[in-house]
């Protein structure tokens, strides 16, 4: 295998008049984990796409082991020992792990027959070496996101990658999966693989990096030591001081206008995904739903919006029943909705930023006359929102897919917060957003609360939950483990997220004796 030194010299990448990378110099020493920090739209992903041969640089040079190289595509980059794991995985969902790994790199035996056995063996070797715990015969679509990501890493390693680019790998992972990934990165490093790591979560960056390079508006503005404090890193990145804690006034909850009563949601097979859940959110209050991903949070929010079938129970907003209504009717009754995955559910990639900013408002009389869209009003709206939410773009008429990930997220939030609301629901509201913008978005959400809107946040980030929530509801296996105050301890939440109800968890924390008692009795919730 051997190690590999990588050097980028004066890399410039222009998109039309926009300079995404401006004469960037970067050296990745062999066997180091090198993190890139930068605001949304700073040009990190662009730089990595240049390195991986997806974009042709407008100027500059890539040197591998001091030899200049040109990449005409990812296959060249792979041949040079560079592998990349994109945030959106490129796996065929119905293929097995081995088939996916073999794809494009098929080892063929005599007579051109696909030799999957060889691939399986390689996967088992790699899996054992780094503790991946991946079954070569599992079908991709059955695997959790964290494992799918490991398959992507295996794909790169099978092709002898000696430098691995990980662009926001942790954005889609649960905290536990993140810890596992950090372990894996450590082992890869120990084996001599260099890693370029991108993340907006400063704690992770500090934990894994040997070296940190900060990029702002396409330029390298400095390097930082991993020992630097998160506030230092944040201000270096954004170019101003950022407050990492939100100071919000205590909630003044009013009437409980949003109520979920005995809500059960089933899948087509009749299994309960949300199981007899009852809670409510008051005006002027933020309730955050915590829980490990896949415990019914997504289904809960989708049910409120009217996207789910097989719903029993009742969802009341201002005394009106929402169950059984169409999505349009729910939206029209004053619900703002931020879906968990912006690219699949929140945005139409080929639509312009301006169009996406009215994706669920185009029919309102502000933006259309009769059957005709009011393009002028849509453009004016876009200009205002781009300004207010600091969406970094050259033009409101650019396809939204050309925005950086964090800026796409801002577009979704800007849209959903742009009308008078009676309820605001957001899943992973700040996924992929930089610390400076998180500060802004959190303030914006609190402002919505202070206007008297009930707010329901779903987040797998415990930090975010603790920061925003006035009360925290924990879901486990579709059931509500309890609703606890917003300043509850991480330990308590952790226990509840593992399936103890609020009383059990409190008892457990109070003393070992009582804990033993409750867990052995196993009272039903």
């Amino acid at each position: 295998m051997g190690t590999l030194k990588l050097e980028l010299k004066g890399i410039t990448k222009r998109f039309g008049s926009l300079i995404a990378n401006d004469a960037i110099d970067l050296v990745v020493q062999s066997g180091e984990i090198h993190s890139l920090l930068g605001e949304n739209g700073a040009g990190k992903s662009t730089l990595m796409n240049v390195l991986y041969g997806l974009y042709e640089p407008s100027a500059g040079q890539i040197l591998v082991d001091d030899r200049p190289v040109t990449f005409n595509g990812p296959s060249d980059a792979m041949a040079a020992g560079i592998g990349m794991v994109h945030q959106h995985f490129m796996l065929v969902p119905v293929f097995t792990v081995a088939e996916n790994v073999a794809l494009g790199n098929e080892a063929t035996g005599t007579g051109g027959i696909l030799d999957l056995e060889q691939t399986r063996r390689k996967i088992r070797d790699i899996s054992a070496k780094y503790g991946f715990d991946v079954d070569p015969d599992a079908v991709i679509e059955d695997l959790p996101v964290g494992v799918q990501q490991r398959v992507e890493i295996i794909k790169a390693l099978v092709r002898d990658a000696r430098i691995l680019i990980l662009d926001e790998p942790t954005a889609v992972l649960t905290p536990q999966e993140t810890d596992e990934l950090i372990d894996i990165m450590g082992q890869l490093k120990a084996a001599g693989t260099s890693i370029v790591f991108i993340s907006h979560k400063l704690r992770e960056v500090k934990a894994v990096s040997d070296r940190i390079t900060v990029i702002r508006r396409g330029k390298v503005v400095g390097t930082a030591e991993p020992s630097a404090s998160t506030t230092e890193l944040a201000s270096l990145m954004v170019g101003r001081s950022v407050s990492l804690t939100l100071d919000k006034a205590p909630a003044r909850p009013g009437e409980e206008t949003f109520q979920i009563r005995n809500l059960t949601v089933m899948n087509d097979a009749g299994q309960a995904l949300v199981d007899n859940v009852t809670f409510s959110v008051a005006k002027g209050e933020i309730v955050a739903v915590a829980g490990v991903q896949g415990n019914g949070q997504t289904e809960l929010t989708e049910t409120v919006l009217g996207l789910r079938k097989h719903v029993h129970g009742s969802i009341l907003l201002d005394g009106k029943e929402l169950v059984g209504r169409s999505v349009r009717q729910v939206l029209d009754s004053g619900v703002g909705f931020v879906p968990e995955d912006r690219t699949t559910d929140g945005l139409v990639g080929s639509y312009t930023i301006a169009e996406n900013l009215v994706l669920d408002l185009y029919g309102k009389k502000d933006f259309s006359r009769g059957f005709t869209l009011n393009r002028a009003a849509i453009a004016k709206h876009a200009a205002a929102k781009i300004d207010e939410f600091d969406v970094r773009t050259g033009s409101a008429e650019a396809p939204v897919a050309t925005l950086s990930g964090g800026n796409q997220q801002k577009v979704v939030l800007a849209r959903e917060l742009s009308r008078p609301l009676k309820l605001f629901i957001a899943s992973q509201p700040t996924r992929g957003v930089d610390v400076g913008s998180i500060e802004f978005l959190h303030k914006r959400i609190v402002a919505e609360r202070d206007q008297g809107t009930p707010v329901l946040i779903v987040s797998t980030e415990l930090d975010e939950v603790l920061e925003l929530a006035d009360r925290i509801a924990v879901l486990y296996a579709g059931r509500l483990m309890g609703v606890v105050p917003g300043d509850s301890s991480r330990d308590l939440l952790g226990l509840m997220m593992a399936g103890l109800n609020a009383e059990e968890a409190q008892a457990h924390l109070a003393g070992p004796d009582s804990a033993r008692a409750t867990t052995t009795e196993g009272e039903p919730a």
Binding site: P74, Q87, H88, L307, R328, L331, T343, G349, P399, G405
Partner: protein
Amino acid sequence: MSDNRAAPEAAEAASAAPAASAGEADLTGTGTAASPGAAPGQGNRILREIMSGNALVSVLAVVVALVIGGLLIAVTDERVGAAAGYFFARPGDLFGALWASVSEAYGALVRGATYDPTARTWLGQLGIFETLTIATPLILAGLAVTIAFRAGLFNIGAQGQIILGASFSAAVGFGWNLPPVLHLLAVILAGAVGGAIWGGIAGVLKARTGAHEVIVTIMLNYIAINLIGYLLKSPLKDPNSSNPVSPALHDSAVFPLLLGPNFRLHAGFLLAVLAVIAVAWLLNRSTLGFELRAIGANPSAARTAGMVVSRGYIIVMLIAGALSGLAGVAQVAGTEKSLDAEVAGSIGFDAITVALLGRSTPWGTFFAALLFGAFKAGGTSMAVNANVSIDIVLVVQSLIVLFIAAPPLIRAIFRLKSASSRGAAA
């Protein structure tokens, strides 16, 4: 914007980024209609790339097809063969013969399709009007494919929709007695309704059961072919004819000729132009079009934004069917003046090519249809005046399809960058 290298497969997969883990081998499944959480339309990735590539690919596809067509004309020409026999003695002769042969053929084609000063009568000089006449049903049927595609549906059913539209309008055209203008309007309306019914069936099946529209529309084509066979045996048959044709439409039921009795060009062409304008407005300016395009580009985001995807499928197939139906009207009330089993000819399939070539935009479709009209109109003149088989036109058309369906091929030939603009998102 087009910044990816030609053809790296990972780059193309990356451009489908909205769909997590977009499969390379995944060609099917537009995502079933109404079920939440269903995979969005990532399956149409390849079709989408074909249909929405830039106009340059279309132009180059035509150019390459013409060049290859030219080579075929040349190698089948005896003079070229003769000159090749003594190539080493006088190489110039071969190139001269090549040039003469190709320029003669294509010259005849272009003149036949537009303006031919050498024709004996001034009527014969104006091939352009024949081009427009032939283009008329192609424009309408092409729009039917285009608009459905923009909503994410691949409408292969123009043929059946044309047949139904033509049958309905013919029935009204010879069966009813109405005052002049009113009668024509009734004929037009009947054709649109007939086509809309056929398109609507596919739309409803897609929306309600998730049945794939390609399969459904192909089946409906077969049903339509057999249906018209039956209709022309008894209910719509002209009792005074021994052939399976309908009686002639009443004079009040046919499109007025635009340029007098010497040209076939009829008012249906104006209807087609109006349809192009209407579809362009609908897609780009109207709230419905906003909805339909969103559904086509990302059905799950559309659904989350409150659009009803299944309703969109039904509406767009009704509109597409109506447009194809109008193509049927242009046939029976424009050029044919009666109904026979061949009323749809190859229009239904040429419409797909025309929409492809036009990059599924209304005006693109319009000009692509004119080009195809010109091929047909000019092909005859090429056969007569340059003694080149009219089949060459078919070959060129097929090559166009081939090159458009394989944009990476064209991009590789001309070293163009891929149309997909974005590498790894986020």
